[in-house]
């Protein structure tokens, strides 16, 4: 135990003191913040106003297309050919041509442009023209536009989990979002730090330190110390990231003041609002907030840590074994594939099948198999998983990592003293049964 602790200390300190660790710890949250901020920033950046020339032969749109910040409309005289010719000489964005139309079946509307137009501009124009034509049709059939507005009814279904303990608001988007973040972190952690274990072992092998080491430490202790040390490095990094990110996002939350949408205040707020649309939006935000509040956070965080560590130990041991079996990182590919496939698979399946049907058979079995359960169970957790399933899955994961550690320790023990030998699977399976 002492020796595992010593190895642990070395592995931890050597990595934490590296410049790359310090740089990544500081850059990580900044990068994350960038990922959040840049799209918002880009979205708020308004493009220059684009000028669209309109040639309306139908007469339905005369004076109806009002200019906005994005699009400015100017009417041009026909016929089409002259309009096209003058458009070519101008620097305007596009020429919208509306021929004489049959209102039931409007056809032949064309948009000419010198550069290809953006999809958003096309849909925008389509919407505007459609709305105007619809209005003409309403007027023709004697329907008042205002009456129609009144008939339109906004519907927003509030989902509620009904259980013995009472009602709870739930929001599918929130629950799957929370699960997804958990699953993604586990996936990322296993990949990043699992690969570090492998690299660490290969480095020890190439520097020929291992024979000195194993004459004073049992290979198992060496492996355990390394795996745990690197886990601690990862946790340290995550912790620092979380602290830094919270500090940054703390500022953001303060600005938006999410408290406005808490249960107590929502009714007041709603009453204060006259516009239907505002009420609806406030209601939506309220639901997201209350869905987050209604998640069983202690259970979620507890099981996140469990699957986080369990999955890491399971895969970490295997990564260590791969490192021991090969001489250099380039040789590791053939052994890496079977390790990474279940992990990647669980993540891909996670995004489709499991989110759609979190209690279906695929989700059930994948959350039982130890190789996929850390990622898959995290996705299912926020939707509510029966206790027996959770316990069984946890038990299987513990059994799983004891199993892989046993296998890995045996491969490791033989592999670390084996140099210059190309190893294949048959060879590896023999190593499992070597005596002491």
């Amino acid at each position: 135990m002492d020796k595992i602790w010593l190895v642990f200390q070395r592995e931890y300190l050597v990595r934490v003191r590296k410049k790359s660790f310090i740089v990544m710890t500081i850059l990580g949250p900044l990068l994350m913040a960038l990922v959040m901020i840049v799209p918002i920033w880009l979205a708020t950046m308004t493009d220059d106003t684009k000028v669209v020339q309109v040639l309306d032969e139908s007469g339905y749109l005369k004076g109806k297309l009002t200019s906005t910040e994005e699009l400015k409309f100017i009417n041009v005289p026909g016929p089409v050919e002259t309009a096209k010719a003058t458009y070519l000489e101008s620097e305007d964005a596009a020429l919208l041509y509306i021929p004489k139309l049959n209102l039931d079946k409007p056809q032949g509307i064309q948009l000419f442009s010198q550069k290809s137009t953006s999809l958003s501009m096309k849909t925008n124009l389509e919407k505007r023209v459609r709305e105007e034509l619809e209005e003409v049709k309403f007027a023709n059939s004697g329907i008042d536009q205002k009456v129609l507005e009144k008939i339109k009814t906004p519907v927003n279904i509030r989902t509620v989990n009904l259980s013995a303990e009472g009602e709870k608001s739930s929001d599918v988007a929130v629950t799957s979002g929370v699960g997804f973040i958990g699953a993604f972190l586990i996936y990322l952690f296993i990949f990043l730090y699992g690969a570090q274990i492998m690299r660490g072992v290969i480095e020890e092998k190439t520097s020929r330190i291992l024979e000195v080491m194993v004459s004073s430490v049992k290979p198992f202790q060496l492996m355990a110390g390394k795996i745990l040390g690197i886990a601690a490095v990862g946790l340290t990094q995550f912790l620092l990231w979380i602290t830094l990110t919270t500090a940054i996002s703390g500022g953001v939350t303060a600005q938006f003041d999410l408290n406005r949408f808490s249960d107590a205040q929502i009714n007041q707020t709603v009453q204060g609002m006259k516009d239907d649309r505002d009420v609806q939006q406030a209601q939506e935000v309220h639901e997201v907030v209350s869905a987050v509040q209604n998640l069983n956070l202690p259970l979620l965080i507890g099981s996140f840590l469990f699957y986080f560590l369990g999955g890491y130990l399971l895969y970490g041991a295997l990564f260590g074994a791969v490192g021991a079996a090969v001489d250099s990182e380039t040789d590791s590919q053939q052994f890496m594939l079977p390790i990474t496939v279940p992990l990647i698979l669980s993540f891909i399946v996670a995004q489709t099948i499991i989110v759609k049907n979190p209690n279906g058979p695929v989700a059930f079995w994948m959350s039982m198999v130890p190789f996929t359960s850390p990622v898959v169970m995290m996705l299912r957790m926020p939707f509510g998983v029966p206790t027996w399933e959770l316990l069984l899955s946890m038990f299987l994961l513990i059994a799983g990592f004891i199993g892989t550690i046993w296998v890995a320790a045996r491969i490791y023990r033989v592999g670390i003293l084996m140099y210059g030998k190309k190893v294949n699977y048959r060879e590896l399976s023999k190593w499992l049964f070597y005596k002491g």
Binding site: L6, R10, R208, I209, S215, V217, L417, G436
Partner: protein, 301 residues
């Protein structure tokens, strides 16, 4: 005196390959013991069993009369042939780490590192990364790491590889000094001249089996062929059934010859025989070198 290490009928099988086949010998306390053998004979397998990296399939190893136990690791220092250090670690830290893994307290380790670094001129390098050191320098660090916990038994596998002659001599003197302080050294090497210089006892392993064992003097005596080297003036003509001339060279008045005696004949008889006929200027028994014995034993099989 009880031997520090007793190897009793040790066998080790790797798949189809018999690495060791019932090998037994004893290593006397306070000696330098040469473990010899050609490549692939099983030396490393045996060393790995003594250092408890692997366990024997059969037989047992006794350390000071007790079967090997994990805590014996602290009494053994091992310098393997395939050796290295963590490249990105400071020399001093690395030595402390390795010493602590061998059960030394941090404070003790630091003190002893200072002493050794002084002795081997490593002091300015203690705060440098290992990768900044020359190869010879790294070898010195490895040597210090091996002896830092003051082991009773030191196992050195090709300790001089990678050293220039000057540093090799420094290390040789350190090994001899350790022996004088009561440390037992097992010494595995292909360099027979250093065996001749340093070893008190040897064991020769060939094809997984021990083929020879004993003190260097005994082994040499066993390989005596009753051959004498004779030099002198005159014309040598030996015509006696007791003596067999192996080689003979005549240069003018000078002769030189190697003469083998029949088993029941002593060297004085040859001398008497010669004195009557020629003037003897040199007379010396031709003792085989360990090198000769090694080659003779290994190629015989």
């Amino acid at each position: 005196m009880q031997p520090i290490l007793q190897i009793q009928g040790v066998s080790k099988l790797y798949e189809a390959h018999q690495a060791l086949n019932r090998v037994s010998f004893e290593v006397p306390k306070g000696s330098i013991f040469g473990l010899l053998g050609p490549n692939g004979a099983g030396k490393t397998s045996l060393i790995r069993i003594i250092t408890q990296i692997t366990a024997p399939d059969e037989g047992r190893v006794l350390f000071e009369g007790q079967p090997l136990l994990p805590h014996h690791v602290q009494q053994i220092g091992y310098l393997p042939e395939e050796r290295g250090l963590y490249k990105k670690m400071k020399v001093g830290e690395q030595l402390v780490y390795l010493a602590r893994l061998r059960g030394l307290e941090k404070v003790n380790a630091t003190e002893r590192i200072k002493v050794w670094a002084d002795r081997l001129d490593l002091k300015p390098w203690l705060n440098k990364n290992v990768e900044d050191l020359s190869k010879g320098m790294q070898q010195k660090v490895q040597f210090i790491a091996t002896v830092l916990h003051e082991p009773k038994l030191l196992i050195l596998d090709e300790p001089f590889s990678g050293f220039d002659p000057v540093n090799a001599n420094i290390i040789r003197d350190e090994i001899l000094k350790l022996r004088d302080q009561g440390c037992t050294v097992i010494f595995s090497t292909h360099r027979m001249e250093s065996v001749e210089q340093m070893c008190d006892y040897i064991a020769l392993i060939n094809n997984s089996e021990k083929v020879m064992e004993g003190s260097v003097r005994d082994v040499k005596a066993r390989y005596r062929s009753h051959t004498y080297h004779v030099e002198g003036t005159g014309k040598l003509l030996i015509m006696s059934p007791d003596f067999k001339v192996l080689t003979q060279a005549q240069q003018g008045d000078q002769f030189r010859a190697e003469v083998q005696l029949e088993p029941q004949i002593g060297p004085n008889q040859l001398l008497r025989y010669l004195i009557e006929r020629v003037e003897v200027q040199g007379f010396q028994e031709k003792i085989p070198s360990i090198h000769d014995i090694f080659i003779q034993t290994v190629t015989q099989k």
